[in-house]
Amino acid sequence: MTDRYTSFVNGGVGKGVAKRLGLPRPQVLRRYEVGQPLLDGSALVGGVGDAPLRGALTETLRSAGVELLEGEAVSSSGTKMAAVVVDATAARLITDLDDLRGVLQPTLRRLAPCARVLVVGSDPDQHADPQAAATQRALEGIVRSLGKELRAGATANLLLVDEAALSGSAVEVLESPLRFFLSARSAYVDGQPVRIRPAEVHEPADWTQPFAGQVVVVTGAARGIGASIATVFSRDGAHVVCVDLPAAGEALAKTANRVDGTALQLDITAPDAGERLAQHIAARHGGRLDVVVHNAGITRDKLLANTDADRWGSVLDVNLAAQLRINEVLLDPDRPGGLADGGRIVSVSSTSGIAGNRGQANYAASKAGVIGLVHALSAQLADRRITVNAVAPGFIETEMTAKIPLGTREVGRRINSLSQGGQPVDVAETIAWLAGPASGGITGQVVRVCGQSQLGA
């Protein structure tokens, strides 16, 4: 599970060797630790045109304890920047894009390691005027290219704000994605556009404990990414109900005890799995369920030419059909132990579900299916203020990917903008962000956690 190359070229001897030979040196990414400041350094807030959100962005960053570059410090080339945030929501003309270039260009050589570039635009699909739509859509091209250009663990991402959200509640809706993308929690999310809608937002009393008092169900929690998800939710205040197959009970009990949660041995493909889950929540956790994370998944890789009905069916049943059945039960508003209004559903998709993968037709079907599910369900549940999102992990360092043959593994690891595989915690942090009480403005989205992998880009 360790990326020996990255460790080597960042170590004492290896560092020198890599420098002399001109070998690529993947940055050891800054990752979140409790008590860590949002940014390791100061930030610049810029704008294009009227930049209607600029003031609000500035205020939000300031209240989050971020030191802002102002006055002479902005032009003094000696000061490194931990983040650059640009409000480009007002860009309507192709020429406005040059303003954006003008803001970004001088900052790029001054970025600190693991810096963040965050562009805020408005949703191009909402612009009837072709030039306005083109201009806003152009932001995506800029950000995706910038993600590939940046070095030393720096990332570039794009927030697309709904027109309706630009007025009034915009700031509240923006705070959660702003904090996520600037922080170390988003270490392995790069080159991603995320749409933000107007929503009623509940700012947590303590941003380090957003899930205080909440009950979170995580399926497939025994090991790997699932265990990491359980850990992150628990760290952030939740009581985690860790679900996995009865046969995985030994590892499940260890995870549950490590996160001070509860172990529930349950085969999610059992016809009564949803009922049993709801009964458990009703009887044991006060009947209120706040978050469901559908993480459990299996692979049964084979070329489609060699795939029999069993390999096909088991993958689709575990990865897709089971969560549909469970959702149906948990979303019955009259059921004790069901998902509360304002609750969250986060499913784990995969870049294979976006790009396809040789030998994974069944797996890709299930993971692409998850995306379809998320789109449909998010629309259906909007009036209950339940958000439904997915994350699509790319190459993540797990027991599973450690079994990939070395050559294939090295390629998978390196063909992304950060030149390294992600950690399970990167997926977990992204899920926890989407599930947070302040993330009500994000629904029906698929956020890739892939270091801007070239697969399915």
């Binding site: 030994e250 499940l252 549950a256 509860t262 009887a283 044991r284």
Partner: protein, 433 residues
């Protein structure tokens, strides 16, 4: 001073690891390892990390001398609060149930609000003792003051005394193994081979069906790669069992009926059951599956031949029934420990025998028969295996869940466990609805 008022102790739930055959996957696991992981599984199931439990009472039958504080050591190794007190109990195969009786009693008296009862046993990691002659010589040498005296003490050793003593499954006072004792009892009661095999098949089939419908999903946590009881043979049949040769009572000729199939194998495993006051369970949002109503322990004089070694439950049950004003038929489930298939069958035969009930129990009429469809409905020791001290908590948790799951408004279950030394421990649980 007035006697303290009593309250109900309820069974919240249980946990065990799958039971393994001796020399199987747990061959290198100690009693402490197994008991610790079993407690941790219980902690995970009920969200008890860091919780101070009133007490943990558990034990082992085959026990190393270094395990003098087995249960407390297991608690310290678990995720329970280190402020949880613990003590060891040892009553042969009755250990687990006796531990539950102790815990339930303290809860009923209000001395504690919660408690865990359990047990572990390993026939694989059994202690091997040095020969008695060697032990004496070593002790004498350690007590000796001078080197010369030490050497003198050791000089007396004879080659034969260096051979270690392996533990034997034999009654110290008769030299007969438990199987040999039971073979005599079975012959005396004319228990047939076929009915023993039929009970065995039922045990395996019931256990397999229970696993298949997920009954054990919240009772068992896998350990060391074992996910179901190793001894379970879902496809066993009367024909297959009929092929086995008798292993006990071979000197009885045609009356030898007990085979490796209809006797429990030597096993490794551990189990635990969480008991509490109803208040404690409610405060922790934990279920109350069944009430621990009452219990009784009896002993028989098997040494002088007056009674079979494993017949004590036949005496304990009628005493418990009399105290509770119940008849043998007033139960929805019977959990009779299957030390051997013939143990269950002799016990049932004894309760149906007018002579036995009149002469041995002093009753006017026999207790009668039971509805066999209510007996060991999810399998018992013949299929599960029988790590001695682990059987009691396994049965308490299983019965409590059976009672809770059954559709009726009320439900009552009887537990009967025979133990070495001519003892029998029995108890009654009632559904909490």
């Amino acid at each position: 001073m007035a006697p303290p008022a009593t309250r109900s102790a309820v069974v919240v739930g249980g946990n065990r690891i799958p039971f393994a055959r001796a020399g199987g996957p747990y061959a290198h696991a100690s009693n402490q390892d197994m008991l610790t992981v079993t407690l941790d599984g219980l902690v995970a199931r009920f969200g008890l990390t860091g919780e101070r439990i009133g007490e943990v009472a558990a034990g082992a039958v085959l026990k190393h001398s270094r395990d003098f504080n087995l249960t407390r050591e297991a608690v310290l190794g678990s995720r329970l609060s280190p402020h949880t007190p613990a003590y060891d109990v040892q009553q042969a195969c009755g250990t687990g149930l006796e531990a539950a009786i102790l815990v339930a009693g303290k809860i009923a008296l209000g001395q504690i609000d919660s408690g865990i009862a359990g047990g572990a046993d390993t026939a694989s990691d059994a202690p091997i003792a040095v020969n008695e002659g060697l032990r004496r010589a070593l002790l004498d040498a350690s007590h000796a003051r001078s080197t010369v005296d030490k050497l003198k003490a050791l000089a007396g050793l004879r080659p034969g005394q260096v051979v270690p003593e392996t533990p034997r499954n034999a009654e110290p006072r008769t030299g007969l193994s438990m199987g040999e004792h039971q073979a005599r009892t079975a012959a005396e009661w004319q228990i047939g081979r076929e009915e023993q095999d039929a009970l065995t098949v039922a045990s395996h089939h019931h256990l397999a069906a229970a696993y298949d419908r997920g009954f054990f999903d919240d009772l068992v946590t896998p350990y060391l790669g074992l996910t179901r009881d190793q001894n379970l043979r879902p496809d066993t049949s009367l024909e297959k069992l009929a092929r086995l040769k008798p292993v006990f009572g071979k000197d009885l000729g045609d009356a030898a009926t007990m085979t490796a199939g209809n006797s429990t194998p030597l096993s490794d495993g551990a189990s635990a059951v969480l008991l509490a006051s109803e208040n404690w369970a409610a405060e922790h949002s934990l279920p109350a599956l069944a009430r621990f109503v009452d219990a009784e322990t009896a002993a028989v004089d098997y040494v002088h031949g007056a009674e079979g070694l494993l017949m004590a439950p036949a005496y304990a049950v009628p005493r418990l029934l009399a105290r509770q004003g119940l008849s043998l038929q007033d139960f929805d489930y019977y959990e009779i420990h299957e030390a051997f298939a013939s143990t269950v069958l002799t016990t049932l035969a004894a309760w149906q025998s007018e002579q036995f009930c009149r002469e041995r129990l002093g009753l006017d009429a026999p207790l009668g028969s039971i509805d066999r469809d209510k007996l060991n409905v999810n399998g018992s020791s013949l299929a599960v295996g029988h790590p001695f001290a682990a059987t009691g908590a396994r049965i308490v948790a299983t019965l409590a869940k059976e009672l809770h799951d059954q559709p009726g408004e009320t439900g009552r279950g009887l537990i009967s466990i025979c133990a070495a030394g001519g003892q029998g421990v029995v108890a009654i649980l009632e559904a909490v609805k």
